[in-house]
Symmetry: C2
Subunit: 122 residues, 2 copies
Amino acid sequence: MARASTTSDAFNAIAEPARRAVLEALRGGEATVGAIVEAVGLTQPQVSKHLKVLREVRLVSTRPVGKERLYRIDAAGLRVIHDWTGTFAAMWNQRLDRLDDVLSELDRGPSRPNSRTKGNHR
Amino acid sequence: MARASTTSDAFNAIAEPARRAVLEALRGGEATVGAIVEAVGLTQPQVSKHLKVLREVRLVSTRPVGKERLYRIDAAGLRVIHDWTGTFAAMWNQRLDRLDDVLSELDRGPSRPNSRTKGNHR
DNA sequence: TTGACATATGCTGATATCGGAATATGATTG
DNA sequence: CAATCATATTCCGATATCAGCATATGTCAA
């Protein structure tokens, strides 16, 4: 097999820097494709393609206005990612708590075991 | 060109469901490769490869203990993603504020223009 | 040193994905 | 209807990425 289906979820959609740029261009509110093209500095077909992906994973929605199309962020999908990463939030404090352990271990080197270091994890 | 370099940042790393599973397996704390293999139900080489990617983007760190290797989450990378998605947090409320506008527009249909609907964007 | 165990790496083939250029679709205006 | 403007789609070649399998590296114990 090849890479797992990419166009299928929000995690994959925001893996592409260009698509993150498009989302950032929409942070201010609705925008037209042309406006996005200007904002991100890509060609129009590229932007349209990225918008298609973002549409398919429901990260943006669109509505026609005359010959233009206004895109806006559908934040629910981003929220999923925000929430998922948030489930690890406890660890980016814990990490600091354990930092001294790690550092002392490095200083000491793995060759000199220490009663406190061993057996106090968890 | 092909796909933008994938192994280079955390956004891409978590695009792979298998890698998210590995991270989830590490949510409880440190774990051995073998333990991760059991938890996620992939082959050992696959897990090792995914761990390599996660290592390269600094989403996990590792330390050797005997013949085993203990992996742990390095949450800083996840925090970057959490923060980035968080910059859109304002919108997943705003969306509800605008919901009635959108709905009434759909009910009415684009065929019947309305003074309030047209011209009040922006 | 040899063997057993844990983990990492290399190779291969299949495929999704990207950028680029050309072109198609759709809507508005005259 | 024809022209124009905005956006979408298609075709292409290049390539990174994945899974699977085999094998290499590293560590401990006898």
